[in-house]
């Protein structure tokens, strides 16, 4: 019932995302157990919509499976899983999915496609992005995204030509919308946490003060560079297309002019004009390269830049702090 209340008319915005600590811990655990390096782990989010907020109360991972198991049916597995969860009286409504990320790289075609299919089927679904690296540096990084209605429109049309994108007025900024996350716990858990905080040593808490930066930056730069290369390629592709198009336009113009001249000559001689031919058949416009990838790359580049910016400003602060400390001590 609740579920229908909020999203029946599709107008209500999803304002907030309540995530249970259990879910967060499960995701982290999943990554720690199965994800390594740039490998990505994924899973299903379960929960329900309450008024204008989406509560995520549970989750389960997609099992890792190699390409060798052809028999493995993911959908079947999910259905089984949800049925089982229902038996033990846990929320079994599918409200999205989660995914780990490597240095903030997640804006990709794969994500777009699957999120689109989720959002298309279940309107309120979100994708949770968990960044284990940032988390390891001391601050939990968990973000929730949804595709903007504009992007949904475009994806529904499946028309990624330059014209369509231009008409839709969509830029990389307007592709994803972030949904604020609130982590909600039961009081008992809060109490436990406070208790744990008391007990933990100082060293455990101060990951945040780590001064080393170059490794992280290098990795980010490498990834950024890779994307910039991709962007360059896309642009070159587009450029060639534009040039071809212009060339053809000129040819077309010339042809038309010649035709016209000839026709006027013929007219003056009293002959019937030349039959109209299908110009579009003669000058087939070149295939326009899809621009969606460019948008995605731009989004990703933006993402990297944001990350780097956040990281560096944080680190600068730390460095100043360290300097001040050193000055103070010496």
């Amino acid at each position: 019932g609740d579920r229908l209340n909020g999203f029946e008319n599709g107008k209500t915005q999803l304002l907030c995302l309540c995530v249970r600590l259990q879910v967060v811990l499960k995701i982290i655990k999943h990554y720690q157990e199965e994800g390594q390096g740039s490998e990505v782990v994924q899973g299903v989010l379960l929960g329900l919509v309450v008024e204008d907020r989406l509560e995520i109360t549970n989750c389960f991972p997609f099992p890792q499976h190699t390409e060798d198991d052809v028999d493995f049916d993911e959908v079947q597995y999910q259905m089984e899983m949800m049925r089982s969860l229902r038996h033990v009286n846990i929320d079994h409504l599918h409200v999205g999915w989660y995914q780990s990320t490597y240095y903030g790289s997640f804006v990709s075609r794969a994500l777009l496609d699957s999120q689109f299919s989720y959002q298309h089927a279940i309107e309120e679904s979100v994708v949770l992005i968990y960044d284990p690296i940032k988390t390891a540096q001391g601050s939990l990084c968990l973000k929730a995204y949804r595709l903007t209605p504009k992007l949904m429109e475009i994806c529904k049309e499946k028309d990624f030509s330059p014209e369509a994108l231009k008409k839709a007025c969509i830029g990389y900024e307007h592709m994803l919308e972030e949904v604020p996350i609130v982590i909600k716990n039961s009081h008992l858990i809060n109490v436990l946490l406070l208790d744990l905080q008391e007990k933990s040593t100082v060293a455990d808490k101060h990951e945040l003060l780590n001064l080393s930066s170059s490794n992280h930056l290098e990795k980010s730069l490498q990834l950024l560079m890779d994307r910039v290369d991709g962007m360059s390629q896309e642009i070159v592709k587009y450029n060639t297309y534009c040039r071809n198009l212009t060339k053809q336009q000129q040819q077309k113009q010339q042809y038309l002019q010649r035709r016209q001249q000839e026709n006027t000559q013929r007219q003056s001689r009293g002959e019937p004009p030349l039959p109209e031919e299908d110009i579009n058949k003669m000058f087939k416009p070149p295939q326009a390269p899809p621009r969606m990838d460019t948008l995605l790359i731009a989004g990703q580049v933006n993402n990297y830049c944001q990350n780097i910016k956040a990281f560096t400003s944080q680190n600068l602060g730390k460095l100043f702090m360290a300097e001040a400390l050193q000055g103070h001590s010496s």
Binding site: P162, K166, S214, L221, D229, Y238, N239, T246
Partner: protein, 902 residues
């Protein structure tokens, strides 16, 4: 041939049955006869065939066909000119001409018929008529006489006209004209002479039969048959009163035949009786053994030369038994020797023997058989013997056939022929034999033993030509000598230079070592060629061989200087393929030489071109690459096969590749370490990188097996600065047996290599790990790399001077102090990113430029009013920043900038 033999035996049986006095003579000459007769027969056959076609065309009034065939006939007749000159114009030819003219005239007169003719035919008729009129003028007398005969013996005509018209030879004409027909004629004629009427009758009826059938089905001996038929008529009509005359005629015929066959007529003089005399002598003969001369003939120069020419005429003709020809020459040589005809003639015959030995194989690709080859060598040796013994023989290509002087006289002998060409050809044959022998067989070794003889012959020829030949010839023979010398390593000289000479094992060794050093010989020969040669090719080859020889003997500087002085690198691509192959071989040898001398860079540069193509095998002429037929058809493949270098001259390809890869490793690994972060660093050697990549792709890395794997493993060790492992990969049992032991001075090369590995590992180590050190003691480095302190010092100094290493030397403590001004990897990366962004912006600009004019632009959406320049300027600044930084960095100024800012 079998036909001839058949006829020959025919006449033999005839002869034995009759035991007459005339026939044996014919048999005595059978063998040499068919050699001579063959072309005659062949030509006449051709003529008669064409004539037959013409007559057929005449019958159906096909004038264009007639014309066509007539032209062909004319050409065929011209071809057989030599024979015609000797034999007189053949009767049937005249007959045809006369008939054809008559026929054409008749047609011409026939206005009605002409009108009916189609256009082509009419045209052909007029042309043909004109042609034949003109042509017949040359044969006027013959035609007239033929027509006379025609008129005065109407009987014959009437009878023969019943038979086919093309076979009507009149009796008179036969009598008047000497018979052109060949061997078949003789026994038949003799038959008639003997008056064996039964067989005669048989013949007659047979002939009639065959004649009356048609001309179409008749073979080439039609004419012969016709002739005998004519004789039959003759006999019938003119028997009695004309008999003696005919007898005489026959005698003359026979004599004529002798002329054809033995060509003795000249010396015998005009006397017909001479023929008779000869006949008596030639009775007992063995069929198989060809008889040169009739017994009793005085064998002198002229006779022998006649005979020689006669044999020569058969040369190159179809159906000539080439081995028999060689036999004949040998026999002739024997005869002339027996009769002491002098060396002149002997030399002449020897020339011909060798030439015919070369001719034995008609196919250019095929090589000489072993026995032929042996014979050839012997022959050339003998020829040279004669030439050395008799200094009064002049030989040369330029001596005309008729100014030869072969007879013994006061004058020196003059013989046409070129011994140099023969020896060159022999050398080529030798190469061909070596190319076609399996290099891994005992046969190859056996064949290779002949190389000594070949060299011996060339040496002797060289001596001979040095005293007698022209400069050009000397150059040519010198080049041959050089070609047999340049690729051989002079172990004697090598040993001597090492001071190991003296206690050689046997006397033979001693003896051998007394010869000149090959270096000296090469030097002498090449310098002569440089000075005297006027053909560019010989000089080019000589230079290349000289360089090769220098390089082979580790005289690197001489070799290099000669290569640079010759400027061959600039224009070698215009040379012919064999020279290019030689050039490639030389370059490779030069590279290997440089490597042995420790000039790694030079070695790499010299080998780069050959190795980078991946077709070293082909470029060196050491084997064909597998390619499909599209790229190379069978013909090209044959040509390429002919260019291959014989196996014993091959350069070991594995050695070549190993030398190249090791050189590349010594250059590339430090370079890679030095430019680890440089985005636009260039590969020094693609080949080497390829090998590295192949090595990386291995899923499971076992201990190296092949030479390449060894080098790759060594490279990996060197990358880490681990020279000991690198050393153990490059120099070990396997590599020794595969590569290093192939060098003559293997120990020295290995020592050089170890040293190079140590040095380059040190450099790599410093490049890779300098950022980790604040300072490092040179003593430690010297210990690590087992190099002396001064060497370490010099290497580091060099690196500092070249701005490869940002450090300074602290003398008192003997340490290297790092400046740490190299951009860190993060900085490097940032620079790279800046560069990439620059590129991106540039590309973007281009899109923008395009859009701007036509559509208004993708970026302009919404901000159409925004001045474009502003955006551009904005980007421009960014780009400039990127470039600035990059340029600075490249110049090495980045570090200075940083320094000043610190």
């Amino acid at each position: 041939m079998s036909r001839f033999f058949a006829t020959g035996s025919d006449s033999e049986s005839e002869e034995s049955s009759s035991a007459d006095e005339i026939t044996p003579k014919a048999t005595g000459t059978t063998f040499s006869k068919h050699i001579v007769c063959c072309p005659l027969r062949f030509r006449f056959e051709e003529l008669t065939n064409i004539i037959k076609t013409i007559r057929n065309a005449m019958k159906i009034r096909d004038m264009s066909k007639c014309l066509e065939e007539f032209e062909q006939l004319y050409r065929a007749f011209l071809k057989s000119k030599t024979i015609v000159d000797k034999e007189g114009v053949p009767q049937f030819y005249i007959r045809l001409l006369a008939d054809l003219e008559d026929y054409l005239n008749q047609l011409w007169e026939d206005k009605e018929g002409k009108k009916k003719m189609n256009k082509n035919n009419a045209k052909a008729l007029s042309t043909l008529r004109q042609k034949i009129r003109k042509y017949n003028k040359d044969f006027e007398t013959e035609i007239v006489s033929y027509k006379e005969v025609l008129n005065c013996s109407p009987n014959v005509i009437s009878s023969s006209s019943k038979s086919d018209d093309d076979e009507d030879v009149t009796a008179k004409s036969l009598m008047k004209k000497k018979p052109q027909e060949e061997e078949k004629k003789a026994p038949e004629a003799s038959k008639f002479l003997k008056g064996e009427s039964e067989s005669e009758e048989d013949e007659e009826s047979e002939d009639w039969g065959s004649d009356s059938v048609d001309s179409g089905g008749e073979s080439e001996d039609n004419e012969g048959a016709a002739a005998s038929l004519a004789v039959v008529f003759l006999k019938k009509y003119v028997y009695g009163d004309k008999q003696p005359e005919r007898k005489k005629d026959d005698r003359r015929k026979r004599h004529k035949k002798m002329e054809q066959v033995d060509e003795e007529a000249d010396e015998e003089g005009e006397g017909e009786e001479g023929g008779w005399e000869k006949v008596k002598g030639g009775v007992p003969l063995v069929k198989e053994k060809p008889k040169m001369f009739a017994k009793g003939t005085e064998i002198n120069n002229a006779v022998v030369i006649k005979k020689l020419n006669e044999i020569l005429q058969a040369r190159g003709k179809k159906g000539t038994d080439r081995s028999a020809q060689i036999e004949l020459f040998h026999a002739l040589a024997g005869i002339s020797n027996e009769n002491n005809l002098g060396e002149g003639i002997l030399v002449k015959i020897k020339f011909n023997i060798i030439a015919s030995l070369y001719d034995y194989n008609t196919n250019l690709a095929a090589f000489m058989k072993a026995e032929m080859w042996k014979k050839c060598l012997e022959c050339i040796d003998e020829l040279l013997d004669i030439l050395f013994e008799n200094s009064n023989i002049f030989i040369g290509e330029n001596i005309a056939e008729d100014s030869e002087n072969l007879a013994i006289s006061d004058q020196p002998f003059r013989v046409r022929g070129c011994i140099l060409t023969l020896v060159e050809r022999m050398d080529e044959e030798f190469t061909k034999i070596m190319q076609n022998t399996d290099p891994h067989s005992q046969e190859y070794v056996d064949n290779l033993k002949d190389e000594g003889r070949v060299c011996g012959i060339i040496d002797r020829l060289l001596q001979y030509l040095e005293s007698k030949g022209s400069t050009e010839e000397v150059c040519r023979v010198y080049l041959r000598r050089i070609m047999h010398t340049y690729y051989k390593f002079d172990y004697k000289a090598h040993r001597r230079s090492l001071g190991l000479q003296g206690e050689t094992k046997s006397e033979q060794d001693q003896e051998e070592s007394e010869g000149e050093d090959s270096a000296i010989i090469m030097d002498r020969l090449c310098k002569f060629i440089y000075a005297k040669d006027r053909t560019d090719r010989i000089r080019t080859c000589a230079i290349l061989c000289h360089i090769y020889h220098h390089a082979l003997h580790s005289r690197w500087y001489q070799a290099r200087d000669l290569m640079l002085m010759s400027h061959l690198q600039d224009n070698i691509q215009h040379a012919d393929p064999p020279v290019q192959i030689l050039y490639n071989r030389t370059m490779v040898q030069l590279g290997i030489c440089a490597f042995r001398q420790g000039m790694i860079k030079d070695a790499h540069n010299a080998l780069l071109d050959i190795q980078s193509s991946g077709r070293a095998k082909e470029l060196l002429g050491q084997g064909l690459l597998m390619r499909n037929m599209q790229e190379r058809n069978a013909e090209q493949e044959k040509i390429e096969k002919r260019r291959q270098v014989p196996f014993h001259m091959h350069i070991n390809l594995e050695l070549l590749e190993c030398v190249y890869l090791v050189s590349a490793m010594l250059l590339e690994i430090p370079y890679m370490a030095a430019h680890e972060f440089d985005a636009r660093r260039r590969m020094i050697s693609k080949q080497f990188h390829h090998q590295l990549r192949v090595g990386e792709r291995q899923p499971l890395l076992g201990p190296p097996e092949s030479m390449r794997e060894h080098v790759v493993a060594a490279s990996k060790a060197m990358k880490m600065g681990d020279w000991r492992t690198c050393h153990s990969f490059i120099i070990n049992e396997k590599m020794n047996s595969k590569v290093w032991d192939l060098f003559p001075e293997t120990q020295r090369v290995r020592e050089m290599l170890v040293r190079k590995i140590q040095e380059e590992s040190l450099r790599t180590y410093l490049f890779t790990y300098s950022s980790v050190y604040d300072s490092i003691s040179m003593a430690t480095l010297s210990e690590m790399f087992e190099l002396e302190l001064p060497t370490v010092h010099s290497i580091i100094s060099k690196m500092i001077i070249n701005e490869e290493l940002m450090a300074s030397l602290d003398q008192p403590t003997q340490t290297v102090v790092m400046h740490r001004t190299e951009p860190t990897s993060l900085q490097n990366m940032t620079l790279q990113l800046a560069e990439k962004l620059g590129g991106l912006v540039e590309n973007n600009e281009r899109v923008f430029d395009l859009k701007q004019g036509v559509y208004g632009g993708y970026f302009n959406r919404g901000t159409r009013t925004r001045p474009r320049n502003l955006i551009k300027d904005h980007f421009q600044i960014k780009i400039n920043c990127g470039y600035q930084q990059r340029q600075n960095y490249q110049r090495g100024g980045y570090r200075n900038q940083n320094q000043s800012s610190y």
